[in-house]
């Protein structure tokens, strides 16, 4: 899937992470070409944050590996941390610092730091350098975090449910700058998000996780082309339908079915009277998110590694 034109920006090979007896992520294999904007989708607890933490070197894999631009990620090594910019959910900043202090910190800690980029960007946003972080709005703080992430000049930008708390306009401005940076420098971006409508415009690549298992991985266009929505008589059994049935809604006399079938399978498997339509991005995601996990789901892993090891009543009776 990466083609012959270079090393994959992200390549996972049977990647897995276990907390105690709970697998938060398992058997994860994919390869994303450079310059992609990847949407990372899944219900809460599906393993999105675990996957991002393994990628950026904030967690060590239990099995398998993940490589960023051909180099295997190793937890807590300067080498791995330097290759990825990571913006966590709460885009942490030191609230007592001034904006200038934050830039100074970024400059001291990152060998490829681009001070001109940081200053130009903050200037354009009208954020004064002498202000303390805690006196700025949530939108401005998010923009400072993004500025820090971009000025780091890493080839991969990982965003974990970025700016979830921001108002729609601040959010749009944030995403505009991420997309402009991607266009400008070929930056590869991976975005974990629940906002499907937004992901449709941002992403050209998709990773969908449920219960720690990868359910979909590939270019958005290919995934959409590989699925169809069929309207068929209610009596039609799943086995009669072309491809693999992902979701099915039964009415009194007819059923609407989302099936994993390409046009070839469709052409040979479609009967007179059946209707076929292209699937939309949103329909595709909803169908897979609602689908029971296909692989024997490990457990209900928690997205937060800090909490994941703790016993929860919901997890009783699960053994690995």
């Amino acid at each position: 899937m990466t083609g012959d034109d270079g090393v994959a920006a992200l390549r996972a090979d049977r990647l897995g992470k276990r907390y105690g007896r709970m697998w938060a992520l398992r058997d994860c294999t994919f390869s994303v070409p450079a310059g992609s904007v990847v949407g990372l989708v899944g219900p809460n607890g599906a393993g999105k944050t675990t996957l991002l933490s393994l990628t950026v070197g904030l967690l060590a894999a239990t099995e398998g590996e993940i490589a960023v631009f051909g180099q295997r990620s190793r937890a807590y090594t300067a080498d791995t941390l330097a290759r990825v910019s990571y913006l966590a959910q709460d885009h942490p900043l030191y609230s007592g610092f001034t904006v200038a202090d934050m830039l100074h910190l970024g400059r001291s800690m990152n060998p490829r730091w681009d001070q001109a980029l940081a200053r130009t960007r903050l200037d354009r946003l009208g954020i004064p350098l002498e202000r303390k972080i805690k006196t700025l709005s949530g939108g401005q703080q998010a923009q400072i975090s993004l500025t820090m992430a971009l000025a780091k000049r890493a080839p991969l930008l990982a965003l974990d449910e970025p700016v979830a708390s921001l108002d729609p306009i601040a959010r749009l401005e944030f995403m505009r700058d991420v997309m402009a940076a991607s266009a400008d420098t070929g930056l590869t971006v991976i975005i974990a998000s629940h906002v499907i409508s937004e992901l449709e415009r941002l992403c050209d690549w998709l990773l969908l996780l449920t219960a720690g298992r990868l359910q979909l991985a590939g270019p958005v266009d290919d995934l959409v082309a590989a699925h169809q929505v069929l309207t068929v008589p209610r009596a039609t059994a799943d086995a009669e339908l072309p491809g693999t049935v992902i979701s099915r809604t039964d009415s009194d006399r007819h059923s609407t079915v989302l099936t994993a079938a390409d046009l070839g399978q469709l052409a040979s498997g479609l009967r007179p009277g059946w209707q076929a339509e292209a699937v939309s991005f949103e329909q595709l995601l909803i169908a897979y998110l609602q689908r029971p996990a296909t692989a024997p789901a490990a457990t209900e892993p928690d997205d937060d590694p800090a909490r994941a090891g703790q016993p929860r009543s919901a997890r009783t009776g699960i053994t690995s």
Partner: protein, 130 residues
């Protein structure tokens, strides 16, 4: 400079929305041969949209002969898109009117007509694929 819009709730894929807007603006005369389209970066930054989607839309426009890239300068409108010639429209219109009258006489509702058109169009597409 031409500016694109994006309707998140239309259900039309973003790249097709961009292509449609150029086609429509050409038909309406808002875009003319020689006009420069905004750069990929400008559109991506303006709409908060994936740059590859913009590239795909521009490629489609080039494929349709409506736009062309000039190295180092950007993407330009290369052809005016004329509305179908009036003769063709009126020649097609007469049998269509007759068909609609026949459908009404046969008792087809508006919805039934719409559904029938969709089915026929789909069957023709399938023939082309097969």
């Amino acid at each position: 400079m031409f500016r694109f819009r994006l309707d998140g709730s239309s259900g039309v894929p973003p790249y097709l929305q961009l292509v449609h807007q150029v086609r429509q603006s050409l038909l309406l005369g808002y875009l003319r041969a020689g006009d420069r389209l905004p750069t990929v970066k400008d559109v991506a930054g303006d709409l908060a949209i994936n740059p590859n989607t913009v590239v795909k839309a521009y490629r489609q426009l080039e494929h349709e002969g409506l736009a062309g890239g000039r190295p180092g300068q950007g993407t330009f409108i290369t052809a005016a898109l004329a509305a179908p010639p009036p003769e063709a429209s009126s020649a097609l219109r007469a049998p269509l009117e007759q068909w609609f009258r026949d459908a009404e006489e046969a008792g087809l509702s508006d919805d039934a007509v719409t559904a029938l058109i969709a089915v026929v169009r789909q069957d023709l597409r399938k023939e082309r694929v097969a």
